[in-house]
Symmetry: C2
Amino acid sequence: MLSSREEIVETIRKSGHRATSQRIVVYEALWKAGSHPNVSEIHKYASKSDPTISLATVYKNLQLFSEIGLVREMGFRDGSMRYDPDVDFHINLVCNKCGRIEDFDCISLEEIAPNLIQKVGFEVQSHNFEVRGICSRCRS
Amino acid sequence: MLSSREEIVETIRKSGHRATSQRIVVYEALWKAGSHPNVSEIHKYASKSDPTISLATVYKNLQLFSEIGLVREMGFRDGSMRYDPDVDFHINLVCNKCGRIEDFDCISLEEIAPNLIQKVGFEVQSHNFEVRGICSRCRS
DNA sequence: TCATTATCAATAATCATTATTATTTAAGTT
DNA sequence: AACTTAAATAATAATGATTATTGATAATGA
């Protein structure tokens, strides 16, 4: 997580984009909105800081953040996209009953599939590792 | 892959559902439609066997197949759902440029995250392991 | 056969996302 | 500090995938 406003501004600038107030608001909302939020949840939180921020702006900036590696997109069963600000490799345990998503740390992608670039010529940019089932709460 | 019509019929019946001619057509179309097709591609192929089959029927039956483990759903960036009839654990290498999806066999989920059920009480039902980047064709 | 119930086709409705357009603004330049 | 201009924004219309609805049809069990 980029903690200070200056860090966020710098990261966005470095990527060749403008550090607008809306972008900072969206990035902060991403963390406030809880675990793996979807766009409307992020928009809800962003609206608290900037009541006039448009939904389209939230969409666009989440896309930008995804491109510059600040967030990870997770395509979802219900047709909505969710966003995970933790871009490190891990498993998302998704409960099929309650929909809750739990992070689970595991061995690295390099250990699971070593040398993808040399073996099959595939250059890794991002990853999304979902395991679906029933969580502990729903089982008990 | 369930190769014979009898095998398909039996699998659907065992799950407590009717083995209608439309279901068999959809299941067969799933394989004919090539690698990781989306719903409209599957519908296109199903229509060749049954010209009156409805898009909604294809949707419903793919959902059913997913529930009974005959197919794996893959939520996608473009908002459409894709279907992978290979339900064994593997990595889907998705190219961000051309959209092509390549399968990559790797070590098992049990080796990556042993005893999920004992460790965190999570009961695994299905999985979707996506690694995105640039494929060999697009890099050269 | 008849009754029951799942499934079906057709299409309308929904909802997430993207495109459009006129306006505003960040950030470099003078 | 004012000027310039491409980039970003707000508001909203358009798109497109998916789901809901409804009346018809067909499988299954009594």
